[in-house]
């Protein structure tokens, strides 16, 4: 990868370009495993701006979750380690901060919500305790004011009867309710960046719709930059302004949501779109075959030299196997790492 999209974006755009809220550049994270060193994230770069939603899409093991854990300094060491890269936020490289300094930023200016709300909350502490502690710590409010703030936040995420919810414990609440509380907690210190890791994957679709709505509203109200990590192309289409597709630890495509969905430049993106059953399919059962991506993701401990998708790609050439393609701008504000993108057929899927 010669130039990252993030760098090109800023160098090419006008001086009026606002500095991004969060800039990740050339991030690399490794895990030591029994079968060797796994490169979970390899040269990941992105910018995210205030009020914008950037979606990072990928399947299991693509490195999408590890990226945000690395940003938050939450990769367990050992076995994991961030071996290269920078994470710029408010003129600091977060990776160089001490644990103490990170604690001030975590949950305050940069917040994170996880897929399983149940496991991210402490089961033996009441909701009030967990919410208010963070608020007191980061916002320097009196206990009374902090409680009031917590109540306000719960109302913002449409939690009925917030007073009594405060005194309850996580196991007394449903998954949807807990995820709303997590969002309220994450946003209670008015963060500039919200990293949301599969925030709705564990939820039912009607609850998911509510949560996505709340996230959109709050983003617009507080001008938060959202990094939405997901595997669900439907959620991406619904929420994102820009999209990054990751595969085996690397960014393979980046662009606006319209570009990614209507004119994907990487065969993997096209494969993903074609693999989805689409609502509104009316033909007889069996009349439409979903696109399959043959094979499996390469082991992160034993990555090929060339394009990591080549073994599963129907357009792969000798060059693809031998050499990793550069991540380059294919059309305006639309990057992909593919040697063959010019030769892909018309249309947006396989």
């Amino acid at each position: 990868m010669s130039t990252t999209a993030a760098e090109m974006e800023t160098s090419e755009s006008s001086q009026a370009e606002i500095t991004p809220t969060l800039r990740v550049s050339s991030l690399r994270a490794e895990f030591r495993t029994d079968s060797g060193t796994a490169i979970a994230v390899d040269g990941m770069s992105y910018d995210v701006h205030a009020g914008e939603t950037l979606a990072i899409v990928g399947e299991s093991g693509s490195g999408k979750s590890v990226t945000s854990l690395a940003i938050m300094g939450l990769i367990p060491n050992p076995p994991g380690r961030v071996t290269a890269g920078e994470v710029w936020f408010e003129n600091h490289d977060l990776l160089k901060l001490s644990e103490r300094e990170m604690q001030k930023i975590r949950g305050n200016k940069v917040s994170m919500i996880f897929q399983e709300p149940m496991t991210s909350l402490n089961p033996v502490l009441s909701i009030e305790r967990q919410m208010v502690e963070g608020i007191i710590e980061h916002l320097d409010l009196s206990p009374h004011a902090a409680r009031q703030h917590a109540l306000d936040m719960l109302k913002r995420v449409h939690i009925p009867d917030p007073e009594s919810r405060l005194s309850e414990f996580p196991h007394q609440l449903s998954g949807g309710m807990l995820q709303r509380i997590m969002i309220a907690m994450a946003l209670s210190c008015n963060p500039m960046v919200l990293l949301a890791d599969e925030p709705t994957t564990a939820l039912d679709v009607t609850i998911q719709a509510q949560i996505l709505n709340i996230m959109c509203d709050l983003r617009d109200e507080f001008d938060t930059a959202i990094v939405l990590i997901t595997h669900d192309m439907g959620v991406v289409a619904e929420m994102a302004d820009r999209v990054i597709i990751m595969y085996a630890g690397r960014k393979v495509e980046e662009g606006t949501v319209t570009n990614i969905f209507q004119n994907p430049q990487h065969p993997y993106t096209r494969g993903l779109l074609g693999a989805l059953p689409k609502l509104g399919f009316a033909g007889p059962v069996g009349s439409q075959t979903l696109n399959e991506i043959p094979g499996i993701v390469p082991a992160l401990t034993d990555l090929p030299a060339g394009c990591r998708f080549a073994a599963r790609c129907s357009y792969a050439t000798e060059q693809c196997v031998a050499q990793y393609p550069p991540f380059e701008e294919k059309t305006t504000a639309h990057w992909a790492a593919c040697w063959e993108s010019a030769n892909l057929p018309e249309g947006n899927q396989e």
Binding site: G61, S65, V66, I75, P79, G80, Q103, G107, S120, E137
Partner: protein, 308 residues
């Protein structure tokens, strides 16, 4: 969000990431090797393993290692302190303490293996059947186990010896019986977990009969956690049997059982402390060895590693 809420360790436990990080396909032999690596990667477990191995070798080759026979009186002067010819000194009959401790390893290994085999086999079957059967059979089995469990093991062992009569064999049986409730409870709880896993339901749905469900599906899956418990259990059994012998209810003189040796050394403790010191040390090291090994195996069998 405070930091207590953050489950950083979940990254590696996340089943989505794990298989890929570790590579897709791996061989069964590789798994055994990784298991051994996991055991030996833990320093305590490695020490435990080496100690246990040493103990077993000493027991096997006792007659080659020991310079004298364990019962040979007058092998040296009476109650002579440790020196070059009698490393651990001699006892009140002039028997070589080193030889007695070495031969004692045989008895100890026997005690550990036989007592644990009794409690493991019976306890495992009771727990397995109780957990599998459900209904009245489960209630009867597990309530009886609970009643037994409410007595301390020593009490049960004492009662058993009282019925059977004092001898080392009976002490082994008594110690074995005393620990049955413990193994039964562990086997029961593991069985309950396993029988709620989808693979078990799948086997029921396929029409599998009782024998197949019990011995082909449940048993192989409850054995690994029980192995851990059994390894730790060896040290408890060794200790309990030594205790019985010390009280005169187990091995009888002149048997070189460590507990019995401790007991007969009591009278000479002021003049010849080595008679109690070396058997005592041997018991301590054996208990420590099996505990370290058991802990190591438990860590190696940790679900985070086992499920990959």
């Amino acid at each position: 969000m405070t930091d207590t809420n953050v489950q950083a360790t979940s990254v590696v436990a996340d089943p989505e990431i794990r298989p890929v990080i570790n590579g897709g396909q791996r061989s069964g032999r590789g798994r055994t090797i990784r298991f051994m690596q996991a055991v030996f990667g833990n320093r305590g477990a490695a020490i435990g393993f080496i100690l246990v191995l040493t103990l077993v070798l000493v027991a096997i080759f006792a007659s080659w290692i020991a310079p004298f026979d364990s019962d040979q009186m007058g092998a040296g002067k009476r109650l002579s302190p440790p020196d070059a010819s009698h490393w651990f000194g001699t006892d009140e009959f002039g028997r070589d303490m080193f030889s007695r401790v070495v031969f004692g390893a045989r008895l100890t290994i026997q005690v550990g293996v036989i007592a644990v085999s009794i409690s493991l086999t019976i306890g495992m079957l009771l727990g397995l059947i109780g957990g599998y059967a459900g209904g009245w059979l489960e209630k009867i089995l597990m309530r009886s186990v609970d009643v037994l469990f409410s007595f301390t093991e020593t009490l049960i062992a004492l009662a058993a010896v009282a019925v059977l009569g004092p001898s080392l064999t009976n002490a082994m049986i008594a110690v074995g019986i005393a620990a049955i409730p413990f193994y039964a409870r562990v086997a029961y709880s593991v069985t309950l977990v396993e029988r709620n896993r989808p693979y078990f339901e799948a086997a029921v749905a396929a029409g599998a009969g009782h024998m197949r469900l019990l011995f082909r599906h449940l048993l192989p899956n409850i054995i690994p956690p029980l192995i851990v418990v059994a390894t730790l259990g060896v040290s408890a059994a060794v200790l309990a049997a030594a205790g019985l012998s010390f009280l005169g209810l187990g091995a009888q003189p002149p048997s070189p059982e460590w507990g019995a040796m401790l007991s007969s050394g009591r009278d000479y403790f002021n003049r010849a402390p080595w008679i109690m010191l070396y058997p005592g040390l041997a018991i301590m090291i054996t208990v420590l060895a099996f505990n370290l090994l058991g802990d190591g195996i438990r860590e190696a069998l940790d679900p985070r590693q086992r499920n990959t």
